[in-house]
Amino acid sequence: MSTHEISLTVNGTEETLTVESRTLLVHALRDELGYTAPNVGCESGKCGACTVDVDGDAVKSCTVLAVQADGSEVTTAAGLADDGLDPIQRAFHEEHGLQCGYCTPGMLATTHQLLDENPDPSRAAIRRALKGNVCRCTGYGSIVDAVETAAERLRAAEADGEPTAGSQRADPPEPGAED
């Protein structure tokens, strides 16, 4: 067994920690550092609940060794907005794109990559992009609705010259919308 000192930038905060070779990124984030947005679901790289953004790519953090991520910038669903909800989170909230919410942090991370690369995806493209994110309670219809709504708003914001993600929001947060 070997241990390794690694550095990660998580949601903009520099973190240094010592991990075993076998420590998975999701456990380093959750158990060592306290970033609990990525959830542990299937643990075998299929369900996508653990998805986070690593250097711009949606990645299943249960299938990456923490030591592999040394030096990376990691953004979890909780780091998408500086304050309140970002437009994608808000659309999931309004369109009922979640029920129990367990899969949601992963859905959000993958959706971020999709809308960065394709601001106007078809419903088929949305389903294809989210293939690696499994929901077992809401059903996918309202999730696809949420991504469409988020895409529309982000395009509108882009046309207005506003930042497309982060702290911009039209309304004050609704009670219970943040946790």
């Binding site: 070779s21 299929k46 949606a58 990645v59 299938t63 030591v67 293939k131 690696g132």
Partner: protein
Amino acid sequence: MFPAEFDYERAESVGEALGLLAEYADADVAILAGGHSLVPAMKTEGRAPDVVVDLDVPALEAVNALDDRTVVGALTTYATLVDSGAVRSTVPLVAEAASEVGDTQIRNRGTIGGNLAEAHPGADLPAAALATDATILLRNRDGKREVPATDFFRGDGETAVERGELLTGVRVPHADDAGFAYAKKTHPATGYAMVGVAAVVETDGGAGGDVSDGDDPGTVSSARVAATGAVDRAVRLPSVEDALVGQSLDSAAVDAAAGEARGDIDADRLRSDAYASGEFRGELLETYVARALETAAERVAGDAPTA
């Protein structure tokens, strides 16, 4: 679920990786590329290497498109294969097969080298490597070795890679005017192919178009058709290929060639598992050979109304 304990070594060059393979010659060493097969296997399938050598070698992430061939570095991710203009324009079958791998997150991390070296019987890239007539590039401390894809896949998880060797890349010849396609019946949970068929078909002229509409795509001068998922490794289908050559690439020829597919594989070699019987995979094979050939015919240079 956690992997068993192991020692982790990071290699930042091919030389370093080969040095580590030599240093740990007596140990059970696993080479880590994207890790999207290895890490799950270490968590759930009892894979317990003593040492993991992580390839962190930017030189192996390069795509080099030359006049008549494209060399793809082993660490090129599926996502890069799908997005790369060079790959899409010079070896589009590779991009198409890569687009069918797993899901968004897996394509972001998984690599062509890992896919070929793992040699999963339902993996997508081995079929593309066979149909494009690719060559697998290997290195050891004594030098380089090249293995044609047709001689590379030896069984479920078994390849021509020898101890101390590293798969560094794939050389894919161009087939500029050929029609191509990868048609896949995806297992909905695993993402692997229950059956996948890759085809590259060249013709001597013809107008192209939809074979089912009676358009003339020309006479087949060469065909390479390969299947994954059907047996324990990706295989070429020579009877299908032979049935195509010299024929006008119309729907009758496609159906006739597809009808040869099961003749290339002994029935008892067909994979049978909890997901599908061998008999069902045999049925899928014929259907997906036909689908791949239909799409390839539509894309033959000349050409497809949709192109």
